[in-house]
Symmetry: C2
Subunit: 204 residues, 2 copies
């Protein structure tokens, strides 16, 4: 019954890191508690002791990873000295970084797991909703500074940008980029569009 919070940093954190590693390598379908325990070098029963269940481990993993990213996000969107185009470029840098670290794979796997598991869906959805809200804020700033967003509302721009990034991740994981589809290049090009709009509005 005892379900302590991560007090002894060692084992529970080791398990989360191991779960991340296994999820990167084998995906959600190939993720077994035994694999995670083996990767962590601890007995199987430790998973249920620390996280209660396999699902508990996954939810804890997502919050663990998301916590690592929150500071980064706040730093990006809180820095008012950056132009919107510079913020966009930075977001693209983050995507490259997250692909390299394997976080994208984990996020997409958990997202897919959410399609079947309402509890997982809630956690992932809330996180992505948070990101989209941040994007909407930037879009509202762009609306003010650049003079409108064409036919789009700020919320619609945020939904589109969020979809484009998530879809790009999916395409990348499928290997489309290596097959000639310029996924990330196209995302970065969008920064040029913002730059054009910014130079127009500054000349006004």
């Amino acid at each position: 019954m005892a379900r302590p919070a991560a007090k002894k940093l060692e084992t529970s954190t080791t398990l989360l890191e191991a779960a991340k590693k296994v999820l990167r390598q084998s995906g959600y379908a190939g993720l077994s508690t035994r694999d995670v325990a083996a990767a962590a070098g601890v007995p199987l029963s430790q998973i249920h002791y620390h996280f209660g269940s396999k699902q508990g481990l996954l939810l804890a993993l997502f919050e663990y990873l998301n916590g690592q990213l929150l500071d980064r996000q706040d730093a990006l969107y809180g820095d008012k000295s950056l132009s919107i185009a510079e913020q966009w470029d930075k977001a693209c840098d983050y995507l490259d970084e997250d692909i390299g670290s394997g976080y994208v794979r984990v996020l997409q796997e958990l997202s897919a797991a959410g399609w079947s598991d309402p509890e997982v869906a809630k956690v992932v959805r809330d996180a992505i909703k948070g990101w989209i809200d941040l994007i909407a804020e930037v879009a509202r700033r762009a609306e003010r500074e650049l003079g409108g967003l064409g036919p789009f509302s700020a919320e619609e721009v945020a939904a589109l940008v969020g979809s484009a990034f998530i879809g790009s991740e999916s395409h990348y994981l499928l290997g489309l980029e290596r097959r000639g589809v310029p996924v990330r290049q196209a995302l970065r090009r969008f920064g040029d569009l913002i730059r054009i709009a910014e130079s127009k509005s500054s000349k006004r």
Copy 2:
């Protein structure tokens, strides 16, 4: 011998339809050969007889569904009487239709399965690559008729549009739309942008 002659449907087709149904309801993680066989009303061993393995069933399922969609796609992109904005609207209609029929769920589940399974990835990737190539053609047409695509190449536009649609599907499956993120509404709004560009170019 009063056997129902009307229900002489091929067993393999029955199995594919059953697999589609199970995949819609339980996702890839919850897809077992026994569930499929039960949903189809045939013995388990029929799956391995007709498709060799579980993976063989999945690959056949994707090609089965994709074949149903190919005619529709060709009809959309082959109809030169439609304006680009009308083509966009129709694509949005198709998305609604595919969400309703459950095809989106199946496609996304198979796509996710491809992240771990190279053979599944190849089939899904080739199909999506085909769609993106079609979009690129439309983008080239837009480039000619509307006078350029801003900083984007046709291939980049295709990559962005493809990502946006796939990402929208993922967001929809997560339930983000019901939480106030205007996913499909934003996609449709993009048609307005095309209409603006078309009216400008016609006035030229």
